[in-house]
Symmetry: C2
Subunit: 306 residues, 2 copies
C-alpha cells in the first residue's frame, strides 16, 4: 500500500446509506453502507478518494469518522433536509441470495450530484452503482478524466437501458456481476458477453463472480483472480463495491494500465473484498494493517502460482 | 503430453455406460459414457490407463474403439449377460442443473470388480464414482499402489456413509464437488470442509467447482485453477471424470507429488475437462492434437499469471 503524502485523487460517486442487515451470522441496524462508502474506504489504501453523495440530517458527525480516518475527502457528500437512504435486507442461509425487505430512498431520491470545483480535475473517476442519468451528469462535470470506470446493476438494465448504453460509450471500464453481464449482453456465455460489452464502449470489463472471484477482459487480455477462501463470512454486503474501490484505488495509485498493474489491482480488489465480508458494515475494511493485508495477499498469490 | 512407449500404468475403476442426454445444445441417444470411460480416455494422454468395469451384450466392438484408439487397456472391462448401464438426463437451460430421467443399472447392479492379474501391480489407482464397497474390493486386490485417488457423490454420502468413511481412510486423494464436500464434512465453508475431510484420511483433497474451476488442498498447500472460459458448452456430462482422469494421468505420468506436478495436473485436468464439455459423449476428449491442447493450456496459464 502506498503511504505517500501526495496520493493520486480518485473521484467516487455513489450511495451513502444506512443498512439494516440480517445474515446467518447476526444482524446490524442502521449501519454505514452504500457503494460510495465501501468503495472510497477501500480505495483509500492506495489513493485519495474524493467522495460524492448525499445524506440526510440523521447522518451525524460520527458517521463521517470512517471516511475521515481513511483520508477520504467528503466535501462532496452533501447533507440535505430529510433522512439518509436506508436499505434493509436479509441473506439466505447459504449466503447465495438475499431478500430486500425495505428500500427507503429518502434524500437519495432527489440526488443531483454537484461536483465540487476541486474534484473536477480528478484524473481517475469511479461511477458507483447509481442511475445512469446521474452517472452521466457526474461525467459531464469532470474536466480531466483519464480513466473512468462505472458499476451498474440489473435494475438499470431493466428500467434505464438507453441511459446506461449512453454512459457505457463514455467509460473505459465496466464493473458488473456475472448474471448482469449475461442480461446486459443478451449472450449466454461469459466470453460471448464480454465480447459484446466491449463492443458497446468500455475498453475493459471486470466481471465479478462473488465467492468465485473475478475476470478482467481487455485488449488481448483475459485475467482471472479467485476470491480469498474464508473460514467464516459475516456479511457479503459491499463486497463488490469494496472490490471495485480497491481495484480503482490501486490503478489510480499506480498510474498505469499495464498488464501487471491490472493484475495487481485484481488481487488487491479480491483481498479488500475478503476483509469486507468478514464483518458487518464497513468494519472489515477499516483500519487494515499493512502486514495483515500483505499476508492475505500473498496467500492468494500462492494459490494461483501454478 | 508424454508420447513415450513405456507409459506408467494407472488403474481406473468406474462405470461404463450408455448415456442419453438432452442439453440446450442438442441431444444424443445411447452414447458412450460412464466415469471409467471419461477418466481413462482423459488419462491416456499422459499414461497407460487400465480400465475396470462391466458392460452388457449390447456393448459392441465399435464401442471399445475409443478405448483402443487411446491405448486404454480394457482387459478389465468384463462383458456379461444383460444390458449395459444406461443413464438418461436432461440439463436445464442454464446448464447449472440437470434432471435424471432414467437410471437403468442393468449389468452394473451386480458389478463385482475382478482385477486382472496384470493390473494388480499398478502404482497409481483411481477409484471412480461407484459404491464405496466396490471401491474397497478393488483396493483389496491391488498389491503395489503408491497413490490411490477416489471420487464419490452425494448418493454414497447419503446411503453408504460408513463404507465411504472406510475407503477414505485408505486413499491418498479425494475428488469431490463443492456441494458434496460441504455435505460430507458438515461444515459450512470450503476451507472448514477441507480441514475436516483431510482429517478423515486423504492427504489431498480436490474440490471440483464446475465452471468455476477447482481447488486442491494438501499439506501446506492450497492451489486453485479456474475453468477454461468457453464460448459454447454442449454437454457437461463427464467433465468431472475427465478432470480427475487428466489430473491422475498427469500425476502417474510425472511420477511425483511435488507442488509443481500437482499444479500441472490441475491445469491439465481443467483443460481436458474443457474439451469434454464442448461435445456430447467422449467425442470432445478423443483424438486431441498436442498443439490444440497446448494452445488452450497456455491460454489458461496466462489468465492466472498475475
Amino acid at each position: 500500500m502506498n503511504a505517500g503524502e501526495q496520493k493520486e485523487k480518485l473521484l467516487i460517486v455513489g450511495s451513502v446509506a444506512f443498512d439494516s442487515v440480517e445474515t446467518p451470522a447476526g444482524n446490524v441496524e442502521m449501519a454505514l453502507g452504500g457503494s460510495a462508502s465501501y468503495a472510497s474506504i477501500a480505495a483509500s489504501y492506495w489513493c485519495r478518494p474524493l467522495a460524492v453523495g448525499v445524506v440526510g440530517e440523521d447522518f451525524e458527525e460520527k458517521h463521517f469518522k470512517p471516511f475521515a480516518d481513511h483520508g477520504v475527502d467528503t466535501v462532496g457528500v452533501e447533507k440535505v433536509a430529510g433522512k439518509t437512504f436506508h436499505w434493509r435486507g436479509r441473506y439466505h442461509d447459504d449466503y447465495k441470495g438475499r431478500d430486500t425487505l425495505e428500500t427507503a430512498l429518502n434524500v437519495f431520491e432527489s440526488f443531483d450530484p454537484e461536483i465540487p470545483e476541486e474534484y473536477r480535475q480528478a484524473r481517475y473517476v469511479f461511477l458507483g452503482n447509481i442511475d445512469p442519468g446521474l452517472q452521466m451528469r457526474v461525467l459531464d462535470q469532470t474536466t480531466a478524466a483519464e480513466l473512468v470506470a462505472m458499476d451498474t446493476m440489473n435494475l438499470w438494465i431493466d428500467i434505464a437501458r438507453a441511459g446506461l448504453e449512453d454512459v457505457l460509450k463514455r467509460v473505459d471500464l465496466l464493473f458488473i456481476n456475472d448474471e448482469e453481464v449475461i442480461q446486459l449482453s443478451g449472450r449466454s456465455s461469459i466470453l460471448g458477453a464480454a465480447e459484446k460489452v466491449l463492443s458497446m464502449g468500455p475498453k475493459y470489463l471486470v466481471v465479478k463472480r462473488g465467492e468465485y472471484g473475478a475476470l478482467l477482459f481487455g485488449p488481448d487480455t483475459c485475467l482471472f483472480v479467485p476470491a480469498v477462501l474464508l473460514d467464516r463470512v459475516v456479511d457479503p454486503t459491499g463486497a463488490g463495491d469494496s472490490f471495485a474501490g480497491g481495484f480503482m484505488g490501486r490503478i489510480a495509485g499506480s498510474g498505469s494500465l499495464e498488464r501487471s498493474t491490472l493484475a495487481s489491482a485484481l488481487i488487491d480488489g479480491a483481498v479488500i473484498a475478503s476483509f469486507c465480508v468478514e464483518a458487518f458494515s464497513v468494519d472489515g475494511i477499516c483500519g487494515l494493517a499493512d502486514a495483515r493485508f500483505a499476508a492475505r495477499r500473498s496467500q492468494l498469490e500462492r494459490m494461483i502460482r501454478l
